[in-house]
Symmetry: C2
Subunit: 151 residues, 2 copies
C-alpha cells in the first residue's frame, strides 16, 4: 500500500477537532446571550477581566487571554467606540496603554450576571464535573504548549 492509499485519520476521530468543534459550539451558545449586550465572545472575555479589576494594560489583557496586540488593539478600539472602555497612555510609562471602564461599561456588568449560569446549565453538568473537565482541558493545553519545540 502506498502512502497515497494509506488510511487517514478522519477529523471527527481526532482530539484536536473535538476541541475545535467545542469552541464553535460555545461560540454558537454565547452569540445570542451576548448579542443583547452588544458584545462578541472575545470582547466578553476582555470585559470579564475589566469587571474583575481596573485599570489593566493591553499587555496584561493579552497575557491572560493569550492574544497579541494585532488582535487586541482593534478589539479595544471597538469597545471604545461603543463607549464601554477608555484607552489612555500611562503617565509613568508612556509605552503603556491603560484600559479603564466607562460608566456604561461598569453598568453592563449587571446585565451580564445571568450569563455564566445559563452557560453552566447548557453544559448539562454539575459544578464539580464542569471543574474537573475544565482542569483536564487546561492540563492538555499545558502539555501541548510544553512540548512545542521539543522532538
Amino acid at each position: 500500500m502506498t502512502d497515497a492509499d494509506a488510511p487517514i485519520l478522519a477529523p471527527e476521530q481526532q482530539l484536536c477537532f473535538a476541541v475545535y468543534a467545542a469552541g464553535q459550539a460555545f461560540s454558537r451558545l454565547y452569540r445570542p446571550l451576548l448579542q443583547p449586550l452588544g458584545l462578541t465572545y472575545p470582547q466578553y472575555l476582555v470585559m470579564l477581566i475589566l469587571w474583575e479589576g481596573q485599570p489593566v494594560t493591553v499587555t496584561g489583557i493579552g497575557r491572560r487571554l493569550g492574544l497579541d496586540t494585532g488582535t487586541l488593539t482593534p478589539l479595544l478600539k471597538r469597545l471604545e467606540a461603543s463607549d464601554l472602555v477608555v484607552r489612555t497612555r500611562s503617565a509613568e510609562d508612556e509605552r503603556r496603554v491603560v484600559v479603564t471602564l466607562t460608566e456604561k461599561g461598569r453598568q453592563l456588568k449587571a446585565e451580564a450576571k445571568a450569563i455564566p449560569e445559563a452557560v453552566a446549565c447548557a453544559s448539562g453538568r454539575d459544578l464539580p464535573d464542569v471543574m474537573r473537565l475544565r482542569d483536564e482541558i487546561n492540563a492538555l493545553s499545558k502539555a501541548l504548549d510544553a512540548s512545542r519545540g521539543c522532538t
Copy 2:
C-alpha cells in the same frame, strides 16, 4: 452589594475559556507542523476529508467541519490557487461544486503522515486516554448544541 461590585467569574476559571485556550494551543502546535506543507489548520482539516475520499461537495465538507460557505469558498479557492484541489460544477446538479484532489494534492498526503503521531505525542497521553477525552469533549459539544434555543 450592588451588581457593579459583585464578584465576577474570571475567564481562567471557566470551562469555555479552557476550551478556547486549548484551541489556541492546538493551533500553535500545528502551525510549525503544517507550515512545511503550506497549509493552515482549517485547510488541513479540509485536506483530511479529501484524502479520506473524493470527490466531495462544498456542502459535504461544511457539514462535517461545521463551516459555512462564507468560510469554505475562499479557503477552497486558496487550495485551488496552490494547485492542491480542483473545483468543478457537477454535471448532474449544476448547483453543486465538486472538489477533487490534484496530483500534487494527492502526494501531499504522504508528507502529512507523520503529523497525527507528533500531535498525539505532544498531548502526553496514551491512545485510550486521548479517545476518552475526545469523547467527553464531543459529548460536551452535543450538550451545548442541544440546549440552544431552550429555556
